[in-house]
Structures are given as structure tokens and as C-alpha cells.
Symmetry: C2
């Protein structure tokens, strides 16, 4: 499993707007080679922010790297800057590879 998680600290009174933004946009992910699954995850409320994370599973690292250089990536992120007031801080990308699996 190759997993990319982008962590977002969302201002508490902007959570609905944040979720709506993700629901309304077309991520173009389904047509991306090597894309496996996407979840938008909601975490805990820390008082000054609510933690969210995009959770995207890829076939392998090169599928993810190719996507970041693609037109699909550019299209999916074109509205990102205008929603900056939703966040307490810049998003934080974390990348993981599975070293053990139990299913």
C-alpha cells in the first residue's frame, strides 16, 4: 500500500465550507492511472482547529509522482489558493508505505 495523506487544520466554523468544497470539486482521480481509492477523513476537534486528512491509496509511488505532474492534478487544485482562509496552517503532506499487512 502506497498512501498519501494531506493533513488540513480547518478553522472550526469553516468545516462545512471545507467539506462542501471537496464534495463539489471534480478531482479527476478516477481516470488517473494507478489510482486505487480516495477518502476525505474527519478527525478530532482540537479547539482552534478540526483535523481533516485526504487519504489516497496508489498502486505505487510512480503513480502518485506522475499524477502530481499531470493536467488532472492541475485541474483538481486550481481553486486551492482562494480557500486559504479556511485553514489555521498550510497543509502537511505525509507519505506512507506499508511494511506489514493483515486483512
Amino acid at each position: 500500500m502506497y498512501l498519501t495523506m494531506n493533513r488540513f487544520k480547518v478553522v472550526p466554523d469553516k468545516t462545512q465550507a471545507f467539506e462542501d468544497l471537496w464534495k463539489m470539486r471534480d478531482s479527476h482521480l478516477k481516470s488517473v492511472p494507478g489510482f486505487r481509492a480516495f477518502h476525505l477523513l474527519k478527525g478530532e476537534n482540537h479547539g482552534d482547529h478540526v483535523l481533516y486528512a485526504s487519504h489516497t491509496i496508489w498502486e505505487d509511488e510512480s503513480s502518485f509522482r506522475d499524477w502530481t505532474k499531470s493536467e488532472a492534478f492541475r485541474m483538481a487544485h486550481k481553486g486551492a489558493k482562494s480557500s486559504g482562509d479556511m485553514y489555521l496552517a498550510a497543509p502537511d503532506l505525509e507519505i506512507f508505505e506499508a511494511v506489514q499487512v493483515l486483512e
Copy 2:
């Protein structure tokens, strides 16, 4: 998707020992009602630590809560204290629920 992730900051020269500990122990998870899938994930090297995360998917919140009160949970964690020198800090549990899915 109900996801529990326990984040571990592992001292760089203890990563092999940390991975071996997870490989060798019997987590008893497969017999736990509501358990879906477990991955041990390796993240980036931050210099003073390597980020790891246990990544466990549950049918729902009550499946996870019931597990934390079970004998299976107690058995899976009985060696945890003796491996304290592997970590830069205490593990940090984060819980997420999916608010959007694309598969």
C-alpha cells in the same frame, strides 16, 4: 470508513527492532468482531525520528471501542512498555471517519 491511526516517532537506529516487534507479535486482530484491515505504515525520516503509523480499519466506532476493552487488546499490548526506548515520544492516537469516498 472508521480509521484508527497510532503515530509512533521511532528513533532512527531502532526502526528494524520496531518493525520486528510488530512482525513477531500476535495481534489477535483477525478474530476481533468488526475488524476490517490492518497496515503498519512507514513514513518519512525526520532526522531525530522516523514516523510510523498503525492503520486499522473498523466496521464502525463500537467495534473499535469494544476491542479496547477486550482480552485480545490486553494480549496484543502486553509487551508495549518494555519497548519504550524505541520512541522519541509517546504514541499519538488519531481517529478518523470518512466524510467522502471515491473508489
